[in-house]
């Protein structure tokens, strides 16, 4: 129980920052930057309350449909292209559907995409929503917004991320879409880690503080790794077709929320269906 004394202590501790004001130069810089029409980045992790049921339904439907399809190979590695995650999506954003990773969603599937993400463009107005990876009932969806933005939705998580352009994804061959992956472990103790990868990445490896890594092969633009939080996930390593490391990104944020919560219905007992194959 928080005592009055504690509350006063915390208030006193934070008091020095409660009255900070930005200096005029900082204000002027922002106004000038906006005035120049610089395209601002906007990336959000959202977990709206209302779509929760819709998400749970989506997970259940995805599980039911998991046996009906698997994400087919898209255009595999193209020599000289796709060395960055931005390169994977730039062609698609530029209008070339053949460049898009993953598999387009059927109209009925697209209708079931989670909505209510206040800061993301409505997926129902989207061009070509796609599923670019999935594992264990968790799907990584992507769609182009009506203004040309690139958006990701995490099926089974209730989080969306938006990027104004593929350039925002950076030049690295690997990009973890965190902290959207954070949730409670499913019935098997797994937590999904969502990421996107350059075309030159054919497999990814999740390393741990202890024990063997988890390798997922057949990566084509995106992946969902089913991590074991108890073993202390440390990094995701990107490997090319020859098994050579071409990039890595640390996982230095907690994978699991700290309050108890039941997993969404339909997760229990689910297998490891994936766009790639898990090789623990």
């Amino acid at each position: 129980m928080l005592s009055d004394h504690d509350e006063a202590l915390f208030r006193a501790a934070f008091a020095p920052v409660r009255d900070i004001e930005p200096d005029e130069d900082l204000v002027a810089r922002v106004v000038a930057r906006v005035g120049r029409g610089k395209k601002a980045s906007w990336r959000f992790a959202l977990a709206p309350a209302r779509p929760r049921l819709a998400l749970q339904a989506l997970v259940a439907l995805a599980l039911l449909g998991a046996a009906l399809y698997s994400v087919p190979p898209t255009r595999a590695a193209i020599e000289g292209a796709g060395e960055s995650v931005g390169g994977v999506f730039s062609g698609w954003l530029g209008g070339d559907s053949a460049e898009a990773p993953g598999k387009p969603l059927e109209a009925a599937e697209a209708e079931r995409l989670p909505q209510g993400f206040e800061y993301l463009e409505d997926p129902h107005d989207a061009k070509e929503p796609r599923v670019i990876a999935e594992a264990g009932g968790y799907e990584l969806y992507s769609y182009i917004g009506s203004s040309g933005s690139l958006n990701f939705l995490f099926g089974g998580i209730g989080v969306g991320l938006g990027y104004p352009s593929a350039a925002e994804l950076g030049d690295a061959p690997l990009h973890l879409l965190d902290p959207g992956a954070r949730r409670h472990a499913d019935a098997q103790g797994h937590v999904p880690v969502f990421g996107i990868a350059a075309r030159s990445v054919s497999s990814v490896e999740l390393t741990y503080e202890s024990g063997p890594p988890l390798r997922v092969s057949g990566v084509e633009g995106g992946f969902v790794l089913l991590a074991e939080p108890g073993r202390g996930p440390t990094e995701v390593v990107a490997l090319d077709a020859g098994g050579k490391e071409i990039g890595r990104e640390p996982i230095n944020y907690p994978l699991v929320d700290e309050s108890p919560e039941a997993p969404p219905p339909g997760i229990e007992g689910s297998g490891h269906a994936s766009s790639g194959s898990h090789e623990p």
């Binding site: 501790a13 934070f14 900070i20 005035g35 992790a45 990104e249």
Partner: protein, 199 residues
């Protein structure tokens, strides 16, 4: 922070509408508000004043650059908090991954505090700031964020949950664990007790 009157929120919402309609005069007050909010949050989290200013600048630019996507103009503040969380979390993560050396404490605008405040109080405030940043730096990022939103902005649990993108129950847990850790930080307890006694 005092609870702002309804008129303030309506004024901000009106500025948002004017900005979206192309009124350039609305940019400055909105930028100042976004900067103020994000700078205060970031100053409780970052190790240097420069880092806090960088985060605040990015947040403010993002907020103004994407105002067209804000459905409810009265949700401006909530939007700023949410974007601040995103940027601050990224910065904290980047700092850890690059194993950056600790920057000297430079959070406090000493010049801004000098007016009418005795040097002994300035020293106490500096010590409190130093102790706070040190104590917070030992907490997980989300606990730090939740504590900053509560004690810098007086946000209720539901609004912290909205900013962090989690459930209210998670906020309870984050705050509870964060408070417990701070309560056990002897240096912070000592300097804040000094502040209280001086206050």
């Amino acid at each position: 922070m005092d609870i702002e009157p309804r008129e303030t929120r309506e004024l901000v919402a009106d500025q948002v509408r004017r900005f979206r309609a192309g009124d350039g005069d609305a940019a400055e007050p909105l930028a100042r508000r976004a900067l103020r909010m994000s700078l205060r949050t970031a100053s409780a989290l970052m190790r240097s004043r420069e880092d806090a200013a960088d985060v605040a600048q990015e947040v403010a630019a993002d907020v103004l650059g994407s105002l067209g996507r804000l459905r409810d103009p009265e949700a401006f503040d909530a939007w700023v908090h949410r974007i601040t969380v995103r940027h601050a979390m990224r910065r904290l993560k980047k700092d850890r991954s690059t194993r950056r050396t600790e920057a000297p404490l430079a959070l406090l605008d000493e010049e801004g505090l000098r007016g009418g405040i005795p040097d002994s109080d300035i020293d106490s405030r500096l010590a409190a700031r130093h102790a706070l940043v040190g104590a917070l730096s030992r907490l997980p990022a989300r606990q730090r964020m939740a504590l900053a939103l509560r004690y810098v902005h007086d946000l209720p649990d539901a609004e912290i949950a909205a900013a962090l993108g989690c459930r209210v129950g998670t906020v309870h847990a984050l705050l509870s664990r964060g408070r417990r850790s701070l309560r056990e930080d002897q240096q912070l307890v000592e300097v804040t007790l000094d502040l209280k006694e001086e206050g």
